[in-house]
Assembly symmetry: C2
Homo-oligomer: 377 residues x 2
């Protein structure tokens, strides 16, 4: 393998692939990046065995020559060293050449590195993706779905299936649900080109967060599912993730449909007040805030930390309907939920002091956030 490549393009591709590289790998070869050169361009692959990312750099783009190929081939190089080196090379043209079967020469200006590599055939092969289930989502929409649900997955490994987001196709919509059993986030998205029939898969929350970091430029993302893998595919990126095994709990029963009290609030103002109300209890595991409806137009947020002091916030509500209310909840869950609803005004529906309550935008049913209250004495 021997080629010259534009350093900026190489760096951009590398920074995507590096997101799959982990310090803790069971397979030593996975500390490396596989580089393959053919007529079309260079493909780099990185993997931590849960996630695999392939990034493609074409030989030419918009008439600009990015890669000059002297000899096709492939090699595996140490990911961290390779990435550090490319970032600091002095010139925009970089020569890569394999010598002695598995050493890699990197040359730029008057700087020359020789890295000990590994043969490409030692690198694990990519999952085989049949095209049973395949559909396309616009990139901004996919990013919204991830942002609105991904934060609510469990971080505990006691119930591994809850560390993922449950993607379910029902009728013509995609339901994405995450819960850590204290709160739940659900996004319903109507999509035209969903495949026939129903399907369901649990995608690790961590995979979705990494995916969210590297998709941006492309207009849309093709999504393919097999039994054990999902593949997110754009022109320059292949992003594979394993799926989580196990039965995802049925969460529909959890979501209340009748409400005792409904409060409409300005989202940003309410979020900031919650943020302040939780300041004195930050060190405690659950920073609990108490909400009381004082009349038909204001809610009072209070928090009390015996050693530190107390705080009281008055927030104007756009409307308060139904019964008077006193309820306590985790300020962190409330802030997470508020940040995941893109709307100037939100409505919170309560069904009693110890029943879960839900948050939505005032004008959209697409996103639902549910939080379990906390008993305080």
């Amino acid at each position: 393998m021997k080629f010259e490549i534009n350093r900026t393009h190489l760096l951009n591709g590398l920074s995507d692939v590096m997101k799959a590289i982990s310090h803790k790998v069971t397979l030593p070869i996975l500390t490396g990046i596989k580089i393959e050169l053919d007529e079309q361009g260079v493909t780099m692959t990185g993997s931590d065995s849960d996630i695999t990312i392939c990034s493609f750099i074409p030989t030419e783009e918009d008439g600009e020559l990015i890669i000059e190929t002297f000899e096709k081939g492939s090699i595996v190089v140490q990911a961290r060293y390779f990435s550090d080196i490319v970032r600091k090379l002095p010139t925009e043209t970089v020569l890569l050449e394999v010598i002695n079967e598995q050493d890699v020469i990197i040359r730029s200006g008057r700087s020359e590195f020789k890295l000990i590599g590994s043969k490409a055939d030692e690198y694990p092969i990519l999952p085989n993706m049949e095209k049973d289930i395949q559909f396309t989502i616009a990139t901004p929409l996919l990013k919204s779905i991830i942002r609105e649900t991904g934060f609510a997955v469990s971080t505990q490994e006691t119930r591994p299936v809850l560390t993922g987001v449950n993607w379910v196709k029902k009728e013509d919509a995609l339901y994405c649900i995450a819960t850590d059993s204290h709160r739940l986030a659900r996004r319903i998205t109507a999509l035209d080109d969903l495949p026939e029939g129903e399907f369901q898969a649990v995608i690790p929350g961590k995979s979705l967060q990494e995916l969210n970091k590297i998709i941006d430029k492309e207009e849309s993302v093709d999504i393919l599912f097999t039994e054990q893998q999902v593949l997110f595919k754009t022109e320059r990126i292949l992003f594979y993730s394993r799926l989580l095994e196990g039965t995802y709990p049925d969460t529909t029963r959890l979501i209340p449909t009748e409400y005792q009290t409904s409060i409409v609030l300005k989202s940003k103002e309410f979020l900031q007040a919650i943020d302040r109300a939780s300041l004195l209890a930050r060190d405690e595991r659950n920073n609990i805030v108490r909400l009381v409806t004082t009349d038909q137009s204001t809610v009072e947020l209070t928090s009390n930390s015996p050693e530190v002091g107390k705080v009281e916030e008055i927030v104007a509500a756009t409307s308060i309907k139904g019964e008077a209310l006193q309820i306590s909840f985790s300020a962190k869950y409330m802030m997470d939920a508020l940040r995941a609803i893109e709307s100037e005004e939100i409505v919170i529906h309560f069904t009693g002091v110890m029943r879960p309550f839900i948050l939505k935008a005032v004008d959209s049913e697409a996103v639902l956030q549910l939080i379990l209250p906390v008993r305080t004495y």
Copy 2:
């Protein structure tokens, strides 16, 4: 105590004082900030007992009212909570009021905090500074001195006096010297208004780094020394630091005055080459780079890491005088030294493979950096 204050001014003062607040304090009251209000304005004090910072906010500035005083007084509040709260308050006007002798009310818009405080007389009193030794340095110059020497102090507590920078007045100049016994940084500054006679004091490196972060706006800094303390004083800040005890070693003998090889190099280009040459050895404790003069106009930098690979950098020298040279040194020390010399071109004087070598700007003797080479086999 009761007053209204502009939130931005309060925040700026707080952010300076917070630099003295440490998680690890032996005296519980030092987790707090002392707030004192008199006719002139508000003084806040924070301390970790090594460093004490007082920040003053005047009642008026440029005709703008910053503080409206209702009742003079003083109090100690929990530093971290107070700072978090002020940062997030909703309005630009903040009311502070002491009630029940030691509770503090903080009110802003419809947000109200009550913090449990402590009485101001429980707070340690400030060091008494006689004005025996006092002089003034322009702020940019003081910041240069700190930047050029502070990095070279020892981080080991085995010889505590080496964790400080030795400030010595000799004739009409201030000598600032730091060494960790592997390298040394020296800055000589001619100053007009130095006091009569000689003096010497060792200022903790950490104190100087913190000082460097908070001086900026003022034109000059007054510096006062007593036996055990130094005070850096501007219009809005008092910065006290304890001095280090013990005898600072005599370093003058270390500095070579005769040279075998002198190399003039472009500073930035050489720094970047060293940076790359050390990439493969980053994980090792001493990332050693080897420098060889190849002819009268180029030096070669190499590094070899048996498990990873090797690197070779060719750097053009402006001039090479004297004997041919092969020498090895820590890349980190070399990069630190190069960054601490403000000059497009630098000269390195060598006195043999195992003797310390020195770096200077080509056109100034003010800053000298010395590095001990490393024996390699």
